[in-house]
Every structure is written in C-alpha cells, then in structure tokens.
Amino acid sequence: MSADTEEHGADAPGGDAGGANGAGGAPVSPRALARRRRAEALRRFAREYTRNRAGLVGLLALSAIVLLALFAPLLVDQAELTVTGAPGAAYEPPSAEFPLGTDNFGRSVLDLIIWGSRVSLTVGFLATVVSVVLGTLVGVTAGHFGASGGPAGRVVSSVLMRVTDWFLVLPTLVLAVALAAVLPRGTGTIIIAIGLTVWPATARLVRAQTLAVEARPFVERARALGGGHTHVMAWHVLPNVMPVVLAQTTLLVATSIIAESTLAFLGVGDPTTISWGGILEAARTAGAISSGIWWYMIPPGLAIAAVALSFTLCGRALESVINPRLREQR
C-alpha cells in the first residue's frame, strides 16, 4: 500500500533508486525501503527545485520576510506604533532616523511596514488554509464520486461542480467585500471572507487531478480489495493529489495577501491592526497621495508586491518540478 502512495516520488525518470537498492543486496525491510525511497525522492525534488533560479530567489526572499515578521517584536518598539507614542513629526521625509520617513502621526513608516508584515502574512496563510481545505474537500469528493460513485455519486459530483462553477464566475472581490462588510469586523472575518471566495480554482484543479488518479490501476485494486470511499480517498487519492495542491497553495497565498490588502484598502479590514493594506488606506484617507508623500505609499505596496511575487515564483517553480511527473503518469 505504501508503495502505491509512494509512486510520486519513485517513478521519476531514471529510476536509479531501485537500482541502488538492488545493488546493496542486503535484505531491507519494506519500511526502511519506503523511507529510503522517500528520502531519495525528497533529495531529487530539492535538486530539481534548486535548478529553477526564479524559484530559488523567491524562496530566499520569502524566508527573509518570514524571519522579519517573526522577529518584528525585537526590531520594533510597539509603543512607538501608537498614535500617541509616535517618535517623530508628521510627514518627515526619509532620514537616518526614519529610513522611510514618517506618516501623518509621526510614526516610522519602516516600523509600520515591519509590523504590518505579521498581519499580512498571517491572513495570507490562514485564508489559504481555509480555501485549500475547502477546495481539496470539494475537489476530491466531486472527483471521486464522479469517477466511482455510481449514478448517485455522479449527481453529487455534478452538483458540487455546479456550485464550484458558480463561485468561480462570481466576482471574487465583490463577494469577499460583501462578506467582510456584513460580518463583525476583525481579522477572523477577513480570513473567512478571503478563504470562502478563492477556493473554487483549487476545487477544479483537485477534481481534475483526482479523476486522473482514480483512473490508475492501484485505485481499482484498492476498490477490488474492498476499500470504501473514505479509504480510497484518504489513502490513495489524497496523497497523490497533494503535490499539485502544494503548488496551488503557494500561488494562493500570493492571491490572499493581495486580497487582504485590497479589503483593508476598501475600508472593510480590521481597523485595530496594522496591515500593509491598512497603511495604504490610511495614507490615502490622510491625503498623502494628492500631496505626493511618496514614502508613505510606495513602500507598503512594494512590500505587498515583493511577498506576492515571491510566493508566485515559488509556486511556479513547484509546479514546474511537479508537473512533468504528473504528465508522465497519465
């Protein structure tokens, strides 16, 4: 069984893992064999990923940003982020003390951005988790029952896909803004609003992938051996769908972070926290745009773009490493 679920890693071109195992000659337990194959697959994956230069740049940039967000409390004095504790005068241009100048209350824009990364990344990650879980659930269910659920299953599957398509066509932003507007203000609301609106793409992708997996012989075998729907979905389909989901997840984080900033900019974000979109909204409402206070509005946008771009680069690199293998399997 584990051999089946391992097929992803092990059937990459060359198949040198098998050769290496055979050459050893010593008896190896299946578990150790599986572990060794998994380690080998992981190494090969890392090797292929590092060959993608853009993906590497994205990964490095991302690590730096995540570290910055984690250590923000050490770098930034939280008291100086309040309106009353602002250390400088309003709209100070960039200087040695305030590398990115100050905002209309005299707070350091750099500090705001460092602190804002925490909310932006958190919302980005959690909203992605919500949408990926939802999308995977719907996608695997629709795919599985569409392929092997009989007439009733096909009805379930087509209803699920109709719902997915409906959400897919709907203007994402309008729905997210509407949700954020009617639910109580807060970070949780933003996460749910984004998560509930960006899942359909994942669902479609996962469904297509599930159908491809279901067509493979080992799923047939598992069914013939009496594996129930849950067993087949959890043990056979899910592990084989995960790599695609991983790449999609990485791309979705970028979407979610942009969505968060957009909601904050439209004024339906959480007013009590500092996020990149919130800083931009504040900059606009304070009139920084028309008075050309560029240091108040350019850096937060660049930060959003940098994070989104990093995630996108990583996601595309993952996709290009994973996809040729998937194509081979079909």
Partner: protein, 356 residues
C-alpha cells in the same frame, strides 16, 4: 453516403459509421439541436441568477443579524429612528415575507432604496452605469488585445528572450495590488509634487468647465488615461499567461507540421493555424475570469474617483449602505453571469467542433 467511384470493389458507405450527419448546413434536426443547446445554456444561466438573488438576500438580510444596527453602528440614532428605518426597509416583516417582497421587487427591477442617498437603488445604478461600461469596456478590450498579442509572441517561442521578458513583466503586474498601482500613477503623473509635473487629472471623469460635445469627449479621454492604464496593466497579465500556455499546448500539434510541410512561413503557420486553435480555450478562460474585471473596475473607480458603479459600491461600503451594496452585488454578479451566457452562445461560432 459517400458514393465511391474510385474503388468499386469496396461497398459504398463502408466509411459511413464514423461520419456524423450529412453535409449541408440545414438538416431538419439542426434547428432543434440549436434550440436545445440554447435552452440548456439559458436554463443554466437562469439557475445561476436565481442563486445570486438568493445569495444576495442571505448575505445582506440574514447574515448581518440586524441590518439596521449594522448600518447605524457608531451613529447617534434613537430607538424610534431605528424602528422607523426597520419599517422603511420592511425589516419588521417576517423573513419569508421579506424574501417575497425582495423577489417581486427584483422582478419589477426594483432593488430597494439607498439608505445613504434616499433614492431608489435602480436609479442610482442606471445613472452610474454609463461611465463604468465605458471604463470597463475600453480597459478590457485594450487589455485583451495587448495580452493576446504578447501572449502569442511569448508562447510561440517559450523560453526565448521575448517570452522571458514578457512573462517577467506580466508576473510583476500580476503581483501588484491594483489600487496601489493606481495610487502610484497618481503620485507620479498627477499630483504635480516632486519632480514630475501633474500631467493628468487625479480623478473624476470630465472637467466641469468643459463645454460642448467635443471638449467633453476630449476631457473624458484625458481623464481616462490613468484609470485605463491601471486596469490594463493588471488585467492584461492574466490574458497573456492564458494565451501563452494555450499556444504552448498547441505547439506540438500535428496539423502544424502539416502546415509547415505545405511550405507556409512560420508567421503564417502561427497566425493561420496555431492561433485560431489556441484562441478557443483562451476565450473560455477570459470570460470565466470576467469577475476579475469587475474587481478591477471597483478598485480603479475608487482610486480615481470615477463616477461609476465601482465608486458607488465603495461609497455604499463606507456608510455601510447595505441596500445599495446588495443591489450592486446582484447587478455585478448578474452581469458576469450574463456575459458568460453570451460567451457560451458565441463559442460555437468559433469552434466548429461544438456546433450543435
């Protein structure tokens, strides 16, 4: 069907099993098939519209708990005023009655009353429709042309210099928040601060001082430059990516080898054979992604104070004016569904294989 004079030994019609329908466009069953196809699409669209209507009710009447409290939060409103508002919006009725009123209202194209403007939502929307259609239409057409053109060039030689440059630029625009790009353009080209003169207006649609149709048109065009630039920058990137990948999928197709073997030059192979095929999935995806055009319009209108539906939506959000936001939600979603219906009906003209 095919009488076969060349090989008399073979039974005529031996090839028939695989061949569908006789030649000639006007078989008796054809009209029926078209009618069935159209009816199917109409039914799907109608069902989606109904779902939008229900979702609108659920989102704005049920989810907020007490819509009036949500709308008047943070304002000094007496209990009597709240009651008055409730009556005015029909919120004192039982839920099923509210839903029924909402439905019958929609059938009469009555989207309720705006709390903020004290005007029927339908009228507000009709007033603002023109500017939005102008902005979104122009932006989408330019973005589609640009994206498809560059996508064809990138996808025909993937990995080439043009592909790498185009993909990098597209990825950057894809990663940038729309509204920030707009703000950036304002700071750089419109604010008149810093080193750049204020070349373009910071917002609005037309100079109030403009008189006469020519002057108004010129002023409108002038005001459109920055909003359109922002919209195009954000939307064209996805068109480019879609076109690029579907052309890449076609690149290995056998019929392209045939075209090359016929002696067509590369540009002609691409234009006459590859692009028409690659366009099919692209068109589908472009219509499927129309929702993002709506998102783009809302943000661009907000940033540039363009007097359209997007800005109306934003002003409704700020209050919050739930009646207005609800009406706009229904209108935005319905328009996207209708555009997709249009795409479904037009698609068979592009692809002979799905012709009913």
């Amino acid at each position: 069907m095919t009488s076969d004079p060349v090989t008399p030994g073979a039974p005529a019609g031996a090839e028939a099993p695989g061949a569908p329908a006789p030649a000639g466009p006007a078989g008796p069953g054809r009209a029926g098939r078209i009618a069935r196809y159209v009816a199917g699409r109409l039914a799907t669209a109608a069902f989606s519209l109904l779902a939008v209507v229900v979702a609108g009710f659920f989102l704005f009447r049920i989810l907020p708990g007490d819509p009036v409290r949500a709308m008047t939060e943070g304002r000094e409103v007496t209990a009597e005023q709240r009651e008055e508002l409730r009556r005015q919006f029909g919120l004192d009725q039982p839920l099923w009655q509210q839903f029924l009123d909402y439905l019958t209202g929609l059938l009469r194209l009555d989207l309720g009353t705006s709390f903020q403007f004290r005007e029927p939502v339908t009228e507000l929307i009709l007033e603002r429709l023109g500017p939005t259609v102008l902005l979104a239409g122009t932006g989408t057409v330019i973005a589609a042309l640009l994206g498809l053109l560059l996508g064809v060039r990138a996808g025909w030689r993937p990995g080439g210099r043009s592909d790498r440059a185009n993909s990098a630029v597209a990825l950057f625009f894809w990663s940038v928040p729309t509204f920030w790009l707009g703000l950036l353009l304002i700071v750089a080209l419109a604010s008149g601060r810093g080193f750049m003169p204020g070349l373009f207006p910071t917002g609005g649609m037309v100079d109030p001082a403009a008189t006469g149709p020519v002057e108004t048109a010129l002023s409108t065009a002038w005001h459109m430059v920055l909003p359109i630039t922002t919209m195009v920058a954000v939307i064209y990137a996805q068109y480019l990516m879609i076109m690029r990948s579907s052309l890449m999928d076609e690149r290995g197709a056998d019929y392209l080898t045939t075209a090359r073997a016929k002696g067509l030059r590369d540009a002609l192979v691409r234009r006459r054979h590859a692009v028409p095929n690659a366009l099919l999935p692209t068109v589908t995806l472009i219509f499927l992604n129309l929702g993002q055009v709506v998102s783009g319009v809302i943000l661009v209108e907000t940033v540039f104070s363009w007097p359209g539906l997007g800005q109306l939506f934003y002003s409704g959000l700020r209050v919050p004016d739930l009646g207005l936001v609800q009406g706009l939600f229904v209108v935005f979603a319905a328009s996207v569904i209708l555009m997709n219906l249009l795409a479904d009906l037009v698609y068979p003209l592009l692809d002979p294989r799905v012709r009913p």
